[in-house]
Subunit: 287 residues, 2 copies
Amino acid sequence: MSERVEAALEGAISQAGGWGSPPKLAAALRYAVFPGGHRIRPSLTLAVARACGDRDPAAADAAAVAVELLHCASLAHDDLPCFDDADLRRGKPSLHKEFGEPLAVLAGDALIVLAFETLARAMTRRPSRLATMIGIVGAAVGAPRGIVAGQAWECEPSAPLSEYQRAKTGALFVGAAQAGALAAGMDPTPWRALGDKIGEAYQVADDLRDVLCDAEELGKPVGQDAARLRPNAAAQLGVGGAKARLVELVEGAVSAIPACPGETELRKLIKMQTLAFFPKQLAAAAA
Amino acid sequence: MSERVEAALEGAISQAGGWGSPPKLAAALRYAVFPGGHRIRPSLTLAVARACGDRDPAAADAAAVAVELLHCASLAHDDLPCFDDADLRRGKPSLHKEFGEPLAVLAGDALIVLAFETLARAMTRRPSRLATMIGIVGAAVGAPRGIVAGQAWECEPSAPLSEYQRAKTGALFVGAAQAGALAAGMDPTPWRALGDKIGEAYQVADDLRDVLCDAEELGKPVGQDAARLRPNAAAQLGVGGAKARLVELVEGAVSAIPACPGETELRKLIKMQTLAFFPKQLAAAAA
């Protein structure tokens, strides 16, 4: 499945950086997307599509690509000096450190556009689903409650914690799950809960990582939440409490899987994949 | 027609800044879009749709909105300190001066997403056109040859002039014209030349303005091209030469209008509207 994600991403990035593109922009787009992290979100999209019968693999690939491109765009902009001012991302210099701020802003913009173009290009044969797909993906990333809104809550003097985390992290997981179901021709509505739970689990795991890991394992600076006064589940619940919450959320995610042809296999996969984003020292205990 | 553009934009911005939105993001989105400039691009979209029979006004409105939101997004990002570092836009503080850099980046991102969401929402009843519409709009704004690419050419040591200007300015005019035709159910292909000519005319007019106007008329700083070593038609051809080129381009635009039911009226309108973006001291002479 991971080769399928990489191949689909390669197709999209080659198109955007193809003939006529300014060379540095093409290079920045590639740098922002390859090599990737765990590709958790597009893997979720493909896993759900497969569990739903994967009747339109091209649409599922496009949905996975869109979700990952939007994630990469959010990282590129989130790392900018005016936000997290991060020098490192995935163990290498962040996009603006490598290409400068202008190209980091532009590459992020281009990735957002490319996500929607990719969906449109893949879904011409089933156009009736395209509008719903764009609605799902747009809600996950835009205003009022997608990633952009999550980031924007950091600009407010105070933010409702659950809305902040739902927008910043949960929304794209919800979108990833729903997009996979829709790509396979199923009603996306009941897949919201799965995305929600995985998103929350991922947030808690990320909070634990920020507290527990060293920068080498994480590929980016640690202790950023405390430094930026951002809420952190491990700080609020203690490491033990956060770990218990994480296990509970993974169980909740598995139980939230709607009835579908590949339900049993998907349960196993979700359990396995969510373990992949546990901090190393917790993964063994939780397995 | 101008009320129609404003009402359609109002609908989109209210949706994005609606319930659940971080308040400053909602305010920044509104600030980035209202009050507008001349709304030349969405007016072109509606004018073309009307000349083609305007058989789906909701789709035409959505296309006009998408084009203008993408234009506003490009201004928000283009004004950032890492690009033009502009303090003024449309006679008021630029978005990042008013809301800070993070919200200016995020509002731009959200406007891009909103453009595609608006198209999807309006075109559910004619889904077969939606994929083509997204292709047109995406090409106008993304990589390899849309606005983002135009901006990215400024990051290269040297840029092919016509490709740079076509991407930075022309592409969205092409998109605006083609989107209007498609929204009305016509083949968008023959509308490229009209968009191309208007885009080039607009670029020459903008270059003349940069040389001739005072900051008060322009609503933003003048002399920016010379300061940034950017190519400028008025500098290259002289003011007289640039003015002659501008008149020639407007005539070329009018002649490029494809056969359509409202051809005669559209010719008049294009002539009139292109005059609106001439610098004041040239408009009288060119009329």
